[in-house]
Symmetry: C2
Subunit: 336 residues, 2 copies
Amino acid sequence: MATLKEVAKLAKVDPSVVSRVVNNDPALNIKTETRKRILDAIEKMNYRPNLSARNLKKGQSKMLGMIIPDFSNPVYSSMIHGAEDQAAHEGYNLLVYSMKQKGLEKSYSPLLEGQIEGLLIANSEIDNKEILELKKTKKPFILVNRFVPGIDNYVVANDVLGAKLATKHLIDQGHHLIAHISGPLFTGTGLNRFQGYREGLQEKNVDFSPVYVQESKYTVESGYESMQRLLDLPTPPTAVFASNIMICLGAMKAIHDRGLSVPKDISIIGVHDVFFASTLQPPLTTIEMPLYDMGKEAVKKLITIIQGDEGENERGIMIDGASLILRSSTSPPPFS
Amino acid sequence: MATLKEVAKLAKVDPSVVSRVVNNDPALNIKTETRKRILDAIEKMNYRPNLSARNLKKGQSKMLGMIIPDFSNPVYSSMIHGAEDQAAHEGYNLLVYSMKQKGLEKSYSPLLEGQIEGLLIANSEIDNKEILELKKTKKPFILVNRFVPGIDNYVVANDVLGAKLATKHLIDQGHHLIAHISGPLFTGTGLNRFQGYREGLQEKNVDFSPVYVQESKYTVESGYESMQRLLDLPTPPTAVFASNIMICLGAMKAIHDRGLSVPKDISIIGVHDVFFASTLQPPLTTIEMPLYDMGKEAVKKLITIIQGDEGENERGIMIDGASLILRSSTSPPPFS
DNA sequence: CTGTTAGCGCTTTCAC
DNA sequence: GTGAAAGCGCTAACAG
């Protein structure tokens, strides 16, 4: 619409002066009177700076990108909000893509084309290889809730701790036949939660039994099937630790479909305290992970990398903290 | 990184020629040999066009914005996906903001600053007044799932139809004491679903009773409270039609907390078939609205407006269609 | 305290 | 078929 030049003309000053007041130039040696005239002109013409021009000039875009697998996956919403808040706080916008329809190529291109200055990858579906490839471009990016060997720019949670919390809670309730439906064991979260499960068992002197471990995907369907297998065991578990909320939902359904009841027959606990956990029947006991903070910290670190130009020699970050949200899906086992 | 100019130098041609091949200029009068040389140079230098520059030059940004209230609200994820898909299809990117931390001002500014070419407003939290204000700027925007008097750029679903479907289903099951927990009655969706409820009742010759209507917000808490009030009635309803999924979740919880059972004591049906509806206990009967298509159509129309420069004289669009997703939260009433 | 100048990287007439 | 030149709107030295 109105350009800086036009404003300048109306205010009878040079465009550069207008630029200075618009940007609140710290060297604000501008006569109060002139400033007022300019401000008036801006107001009158309804002037708004053109970002493309500014970005071109300054070689920046003040935009960050974020790739997630799917907007409907509730696990990501907290991360997005954290990232969004921090980005806004630092004057950046966040462009969130789901991978639903885009290939990776499309997800990277905004980065390569300077549309975004950095990329948050919160997505287990992208191949390690492709990420290593991206590294070669030297463009700033960061992995969120994910670990890839050879990449130091990542922010993860303490999944071992969270899993240990869950497992120990089950043991404290009196269970010792505790199954684990894990995430994919080629993912950092899946692996670490599995490890936390084992450590929790060990620290409480409960035997580990491989038959009680079902490797699953992070989906409702996969959780459902895994739970079925567990229920088919000669001695089914009395409690289940689900590696994430989707699995947990599927597992609960499988239990109900067998005519069993939670927690009377089987206790269940899952990672991720999504908003509807408390509305489920029974209300779900969960482990809350610091998803929001992960998003926040990821953006913080990403911006550091962007500004440091070099960066990326630092190690990854682990956001500590995981809390047991006690509700009603866990209770002592039937015969204890 | 590498600029067009540098590529040109390497390929020993003029920058303009490079530009033409990069853009696949339809007037592709370019010798195959030259083109090859240029392509090689691009490859070798890993050249990617700078979008800020291109956008500045062409006075566009190929970006659309979308405001939603909250990423964790599952109602919006389908709309986002639809919008995203269509945007990608037409060569646009979608910048999705939640209103969580930003004021309206911040949400509009990308539009005014030319960062985005158009805005999808999928948000009941924004004041009508502010939207009317936005209209004055003549910038392209469109309302999604929302109606504001005086604004013709909108895409809505057939909420009356959806509500009628739900109500009639309940009646067909044998209910006649059917309550409705409505959304806010100053919103289009709330109002239309209420109307659909009344029409459904009327068409099936069931009496309408104002005491069975609770106006609520679209939140779990509000649904919970409304349901409590309904249960406190001298003659509580035997079935409930919840105006959206959040309300439905809250209402279900209230029913359970009273020691009542769904659907044995009370049937319940809600609008919006979110992914976890089938995993609930009991699996929820819902009305599926064409959310994905609304997102898609909204983008389509928005782009039309953007390209038509004028536009906006057309009327709003209603995406027809609503389906009953029959599961187990509805059944015949106790004594029928 | 304000104006001049140059240029960010790209596209687009218009020439040749 | 390719090159020259101008300019999108803004900012950042540098003068004055």
